[in-house]
């Protein structure tokens, strides 16, 4: 841990202890609502994903795409909860589970149609006191020119707090058009979700 991040952690901690009154005037309002309607919101979100998947499949089919195939999936914890807290200056426990994508990447940067692309999502899971793990959904969506081509089946996993890397190898259809493709990396736990994007290029044959 660098001296800089140590200083930040201490400052934030002090700020929390002293700053309650300041934060306090925030919002009873929606803050208090959050827990009560979380279940309904999650349900709607799941419904949305399902609908999105259908739309995505239709758009992909229209563009001559077969479903991009998930060839391999694995995941590993890359940072402990303490590591994450030190690196990102997290001084207090969260009230409900939070996820934050630190980086989404795709490799190689340039491929040919019919090749594989490896997509990696590095993310943090933050858990409330007393909670040992949380249900997490990891997903990837392939897009080109703003249109959804294919959605890789979601991975439903249990995660302890800390940093995780989800790695998937995806087979790109042999009829894929040359150009720049965007991978949307998405992670969700409860109502908290985060996304990042990475790109790869399919070069002409």
């Amino acid at each position: 841990m660098s001296t800089g991040s140590k200083t930040l952690s201490i400052t934030l901690c002090a700020s929390l202890a002293a700053g309650c009154a300041n934060q306090g005037v925030n919002n009873q309002f929606l803050g208090s609502l959050a827990g009560a309607v979380a279940g309904a919101a999650s349900g709607a979100a799941i419904g949305g994903d399902w609908k999105g998947a259908l739309v995505g499949a239709a758009a992909g089919a229209a563009l001559g795409w077969a479903t991009a195939k998930l060839l391999e999936y694995n995941s590993t914890q890359v940072r402990s909860e303490d590591n994450d807290r030190q690196i990102y200056g997290i001084s207090e426990r969260v009230a409900s589970p939070l996820v934050k994508v630190r980086k989404g990447s795709s490799s190689p940067a340039q491929i040919r149609a019919g090749d594989q692309v490896r997509v990696v999502t590095d993310y943090s899971v933050m858990l409330p006191q007393g909670m040992t793990d949380a249900d997490v959904n990891e997903s990837w969506v392939l897009k080109k020119d703003g249109k959804v081509l294919s959605e890789i089946p979601q991975q439903h996993v249990k995660r302890t707090g800390g940093g995780w890397e989800a790695i998937a190898s995806i087979a790109i259809p042999s009829n894929a058009q040359p150009g720049t493709y965007v991978v949307e990396h998405k992670v969700q736990t409860g109502t908290s979700y985060d996304t990042d994007e990475s790109v790869f290029v399919i070069s002409p044959v």
């Binding site: 009154a21 934060q23 306090g24 005037v25 009873q28 208090s32 009560a36 919101a41 109502t191």
Partner: protein, 239 residues
Amino acid sequence: MDNRWRSAAVVAALLVFNHGTQADGPCEREQSRSRETALRINQEWPQHPSNHELSRYIQSLGERLGRISPSGRAIPWRFSVLRDHSPYAFAIGSGFVYVADGAFSFVRNESELAAILAHEIGHQLAGHFCEPELPAGGRYDPSVIRRDSVGTLVQVIDPKKEVEADQYALDILREAGFDPRAMLEVAKRLSVHSSSDLGQPENWRVLAIQNRLRNSRFVRSGIQDSNEFRRLKERISDH
């Protein structure tokens, strides 16, 4: 007259003369505290990038509401959209306001979304972030003040200040051309859902808003949602 009612009435009366509390912008203590908190939120919370269409819309709507009053024009409003399907919002001072994108799914029209933002703006305009950290005596009265958590932030919820922020919000909504009754609708629906004090049938916030609406010429009708709001709400609902 019930004590709670009396307080609410006093607050409402004071508000008429009280706009301009933050005419010189955020105070020094507020600035340093809110900067630290904003940094922390950036590290911990997933957010939509500032150039995302949702962020740009919220920033534009929030600024429009924030700049309605002369005192609000001195504040550098910074609205951020959190990635969370739960509907909530909070402010941390110095013009920083955070809204979860779940608020889009929760609201039924643009006036309701404006009401949520206006409430947060109300806290800022009322100078709530510039007050001493602890009241005289060094502690909060637990029978009145509630502590709650959002993310890793601790909120100390003072019903009087919530009512005060609502009252500011009513004025902002009216001046901005939104339906002020949206504030009441949002508060009522929250009270149905909430397990907090708001869940009680007679909570002061709803009553104070009703009282203010009754005594003012606030009623507007036929207000249309903007095309941008409709488009974004549809997009959020699809995800």
